[in-house]
Symmetry: C2
Subunit: 327 residues, 2 copies
């Protein structure tokens, strides 16, 4: 899609302009580093698409909101990576590894502060309050999601509903908010903006379920990731949670044993054994079916939107890209 390429170019330009050198360098160099590490820029793209549902073309100010969403996403990555003690992000050292923890905390803080300035600049005077109210729900949801994620890893029993609640915060609300903010900036009425938000949430849930699924069953040559990386890290993904809900008592015990950090085994043995349980418990199929269900929900909501601009087509294209992705 030609228009998608053009929008992405505008977004990248705006990100580059923001990420240039600034004083004090010790504060802003890490900000520029993380913002130019790459990524799909899916949140800014959704914001632009949401705007274009009712409008024929982008205004310059909307790019400030696109930047705000990418900034917020990267703020959360920088702080989450400290909390998770992650050494790598997109194949490069994380900010706290390349610099140190204090620098990474402060870089995240100033990014979050800049998010609000970009949202202010993006909004017409009459839109600002609604934009901020919408974004507040999103931002709090992301923090609550990260909190649930950390609690999740330590909890004994985890339910599918608790898992969904967690990924809703971690991924879905920000994708929903990106679309909804685009709609609000275009002057969309409340009900249709909320519908855009629900569409983005469904898309986000599908996206996260597929992410978990691809980590286990995707082609490593295409994902570029270590096969079964989540299993080796003992991460309670959708496949694990669904298996615990669907499998018999014996398989559940077996699964818990493989996820016990005390269990000694060859990595390959562990991955294969867990994949077998995911398969025979029906979890592999069930998770794929849930993901497909959320995709369908997203497309159904899209049909209700009925706008005059190219946005709906763009969203349909983005949904298709995410659904068909192999990585």
């Amino acid at each position: 899609m030609q228009i998608l390429g053009q929008i992405l170019e505008q977004i990248e330009g705006r990100i580059r302009a923001y990420s240039g050198p600034r004083e004090p360098e010790g504060l802003y160099a890490p900000v520029g580093y993380i913002m130019t590490l790459g990524g799909k820029r899916i949140r800014p793209l959704l914001c632009a698409a949401g705007y274009l549902v009712d409008r024929p073309e982008l205004e310059e100010r909307v790019l400030d909101a696109c930047l705000a969403l990418e900034l917020f996403h990267n703020f959360s990555l920088v702080h989450d990576d400290i909390m998770d003690e992650a050494p790598l992000r997109r194949g490069k050292p994380t900010v706290h590894e390349r610099w140190n923890v204090p620098t990474a905390i402060l870089a995240g803080d100033v990014m979050l502060i800049d998010v609000y300035e970009q949202l202010r600049m993006a909004s017409l005077p009459g839109q600002l309050s609604a934009v901020l109210r919408c974004f507040h729900g999103v931002a709090v949801g992301v923090c609550e999601g990260q909190q649930r994620d950390m609690a999740f890893e330590q909890a004994a029993g985890v339910t599918w509903d608790a898992y969904l609640e967690m990924i809703r915060g971690k991924t879905a609300v920000l994708l929903g908010g990106s679309l909804e903010l685009g709609g609000l900036l275009a002057g969309m009425d409340h009900d249709r903006a909320v519908l855009l938000g629900r569409l983005g949430e469904a898309l986000g849930l599908a996206f996260q379920l597929e992410d978990d699924w691809l980590d286990a069953f995707g082609d490593p040559a295409l994902t570029g990731k270590q096969p079964g990386g989540d299993i080796l890290r003992g991460k309670k993904t959708a496949l694990y949670v669904m298996s615990m809900a669907m499998a018999g008592a014996e398989s559940r015990l077996e699964l818990e044993r493989w996820f016990d950090p005390g269990t000694v085994s060859e990595p390959q043995t562990r991955v294969q054994a867990v994949l077998d349980i995911f398969e025979r418990s029906g979890s592999r199929e069930a998770v794929a079916a849930r993901a497909a269900g959320y995709h369908e929900e997203a497309l159904g909501l899209l049909d209700q939107l009925d706008g005059r601009g190219p946005g709906a087509t763009l969203i349909r294209h983005l949904v298709g890209q995410l659904k068909g992705r192999k990585h």
Copy 2:
């Protein structure tokens, strides 16, 4: 002052209402903990006083802004305490000590996010953009101040100007912003609001210089602090920086030796030796004179304000309290 007591009571009530239990508890318990640890509530008081310069009495919505300023201050304390590895805050364990670093990072993040929601609720529609623009300058200034503070401790030579720039960010811009936001919420024109901001900055500089001075020369029975605590921690306070600017070569070398962590000595010997250098270099008097100068500047700006409400009297009282304080 009776009115001051009433305002403080309203502010404390608003803080208590905000700090009650919320789900998920793992995220919000640390927020409630730090917000109810106490403190002078100087920023909310300044915000209320700024509002009352032109208005006869507080509106309910202004308390949201007062809360926002106290929230922002406490957000910065929580994150700074992680960066500085501080074990205690107001005599109690810091958030990252009582819980852990991830919890403290996330609690700070959600407080910062709530700051903006409170500012949104405090502002009339026509004020919101100006309020956010003013606050953005303040918030970025505080981050830059913290960055300069961390760099400061590692820098070899430090100038008085660099020291001032650092405390301007760490303390002064937030006090200035508190007054200025109060003025903006009262509908004050831009020039007078900026004058309030400058007044608060001068007050903040005086406040920080006195803080440094009291740590060295205050009465420990009144400050409740370890005498010469900053000296023992090797902190480059106003007194140190001023001494390095005023003292002869020999005293400078001596001072550097006492601040070298490798120098072995009894704490009392070290404190006394450093206090002697502060005294005979003229730094003790010079720092006190600078603080008095900023106090005078603040009072001079106050004379130019000329409002109809009780705010100017309140500010004069607060300035007097801070100036006469022994702790």
